[in-house]
């Protein structure tokens, strides 16, 4: 590169610049393939959550609720039930390279509640989807959880992939559609 001096060989530098530009243009297709794993993707970990916690029908205030979302690592937030027994979590998504490198990844949503030193499971669902799924959005928007309910694996419609219904382990109940219950 020592002989490439601007003052003495301006054309060489211009040609060099041009050929680099041409190379870059023509190899963009190849580059797109080669570096596709560098792209970051949105991974939708959880829709907004709204729940109501009761004990024998009466609101449970001040109970600690924990949401643990697992993808490549754990994303954890917590809150406390209000005087009327309600609690909320915001929607959560992250940027990740994993979908681009086509990892065989699963997203897990776990919501649990602690009351009088006892742990209750409000939601436990595993999915391979990185985009919102209608039925999960609906179910998480209205968790009706009476602490006297039995924890069941509850199977409900998967609108996007009807052959593979969703399942969640939960003490919550929904009245919007018939769900299949399994006791473990």
């Amino acid at each position: 590169m020592a002989d490439l001096r601007c003052t003495r060989k301006p054309m060489s530098l211009l040609r060099l610049g041009l050929s680099v530009a041409v190379l870059m243009i023509f190899s963009q297709q190849v580059m797109a393939d080669m570096f596709s794993w560098l792209k970051k993707y949105d991974v939708y970990l959880s829709p907004a959550v709204h729940g109501m916690v009761t004990l024998n029908g009466k609101p449970v205030a001040g109970a600690e609720v924990l949401r643990e979302l697992t993808y490549d690592k754990d994303y954890i937030d917590n809150t406390v039930t209000a005087a009327d027994g309600s609690f909320r979590f915001p929607e959560k998504h992250i940027r990740s390279r994993k979908p681009g490198s086509l990892q065989e990844m699963r997203t897990r949503q776990v919501i649990s509640l602690r009351h009088h030193d006892k742990q209750y499971l409000l939601w436990y669902l595993t999915t391979s989807s990185i985009t919102p799924q209608q039925a999960i959005v609906q179910k998480l928007a209205s968790l009706q959880c009476d602490l006297t309910n039995e924890e069941l694996e509850q199977v409900f419609t998967n609108f996007e992939k009807p052959d593979f219904p969703h399942s969640t382990f939960s003490i919550c109940r929904w009245n919007d559609e018939p769900v299949t219950h399994f006791t473990e």
């Binding site: 643990e68 490198s101 990892q103 065989e104 052959d163 219904p165």
Partner: protein
């Protein structure tokens, strides 16, 4: 001794991806939804995931903190059966994509891929602890071994080990699994297991590797080609229902007879003409075709047996050095074979998407360089797919 349906086998290969670790607060469940495997195998996680459940019907095996396999006990028509399903576990990707990876002795007394064997040995003791007492008094038991990707390779080795150590029936079901051994392994594997259901997608690069002389079991048999995909796509390796096409979707059938069967292509005779080289594309189809052409050329020139013998004992030359040296000698000895070698190398260069695909010399150095370009192209895409399960 009934076989699992394609759907149940795929469900098992899929569900094991859930078992990596409990939530940070220690909560652990297995989401089975309405999976049909509910009616076939019993999974009871009541004693928690980290320690195996002794005496129970389900055992989750954890290698340090990461779950890698599930063992279930059959119910209903599978009442005498067990299932072992293994996830694509974290193994060093270089083992898979290094063309010079070594071989080591497997349970059926043939040489297998050293990387897979090492990974298998790291989990063998845990599997043995659980399976040995179950199989001890049950000579007519059947064990169904299932796995996706590297989990499929590990399921193959598990199947071999069970068959050689216990007097039981063993069926193997794999999805997008790489090749575990060479001819001797594949032959013995095919002969000893009760049934092998090998499922692939057309564009999945992982079943293509490691390259020949690694071959698939069933040897000289058929595989189930679950889609009509072509080319090479890392997406095609995915297991889940939300992948495209996703083995869980394409195996959604109750009957193996309804699925598309495909014979091993490496056994065909393939002679490639140099002037036709531009018909080659970067695809699993052409990867097979090129392997076939290489084998045909070695056979035509009478080098095949010697090359295979040397590959099996492992010489100081790497395998592709050995191949390049053989091709150089073949080309020197006969104009006809030189032309056939030119055809092969030209197709390799087009396959590897090289800008210049003319073959002007047939020296060791040039042939070795063409091999490098071909291997790099194929392994790069396979590595992307394999990274997906690390």
């Amino acid at each position: 001794m009934p076989a699992l349906t394609p759907r149940v086998a795929a469900e098992l290969a899929d569900i094991v991806y859930q078992i990596e670790r409990p939530s940070s607060s220690g909560i652990y469940r297995l989401n089975m939804g309405n999976y049909e495997l509910r009616n076939c195998f019993n999974f009871d996680l009541s004693a928690g995931p980290v320690r195996g459940v002794s005496g129970g019907s389900l055992f989750s095996l954890f290698n340090k903190t990461t779950g890698f396999a599930l063992v279930g006990k059959g119910i209903n028509q599978f009442a005498k059966d067990y299932v072992v399903t293994i996830r694509g576990t974290k193994i060093n990707r270089d083992w898979l994509t290094n063309a010079n990876v070594g071989l080591s002795g497997g349970d059926n007394n043939t040489m297998v891929h050293a990387g897979f064997n090492k990974a298998f040995f790291s989990m063998k003791a845990a599997l043995q602890k659980i399976l040995a007492p179950l199989l001890a008094g049950q000579p007519d038991a059947t064990v169904h071994c299932v796995g996706h990707s590297l989990g499929g390779a590990l399921a193959s080795l598990t199947a071999d080990w069970l068959k050689s150590s216990y007097n039981c029936n063993v069926n193997l079901y794999t999805f997008g699994a790489p090749r575990v051994g060479m001819h001797a392994f594949a032959k013995k594997h095919t002969g000893s297991l009760n049934a092998i259901y090998r499922c692939t997608h057309g564009a999945d690069p992982v079943p293509m590797i490691p390259l020949w002389p690694f071959v698939h079991a069933p040897y000289a048999g058929t595989e189930y080609r679950l889609d009509s995909g072509s080319g090479i796509s890392v997406q095609a390796h995915g297991m889940a229902e939300n992948k495209a096409p996703g083995y869980l979707n394409t195996a959604n059938s109750r009957n193996w007879q309804t699925l598309n069967k495909r014979a091993a292509v490496n056994l065909e005779q393939v002679r490639l003409k140099y002037e036709n080289r531009n018909q080659a594309t970067f695809s699993t189809y052409w990867a097979d075709k090129i392997s076939g052409a290489l084998i045909t050329l070695l056979k035509d020139a009478g080098y095949y047996t010697a090359v295979m013998a040397q590959a099996a004992i492992g010489t100081s030359l790497t395998f592709y050095d050995l191949l390049a040296r053989s091709l150089e000698n073949i080309a020197k000895a006969s104009a006809k074979y030189a032309e056939q070698a030119r055809g092969l190398l030209g197709h390799m260069l087009v396959f590897a998407r090289q800008a210049i695909t003319s073959v002007t010399e047939l020296s060791f150095k040039f042939i070795r360089w063409v091999f490098d370009k071909t291997l790099t192209a194929l392994y790069r895409s396979a590595r992307d797919a394999v990274d997906s399960i690390l």
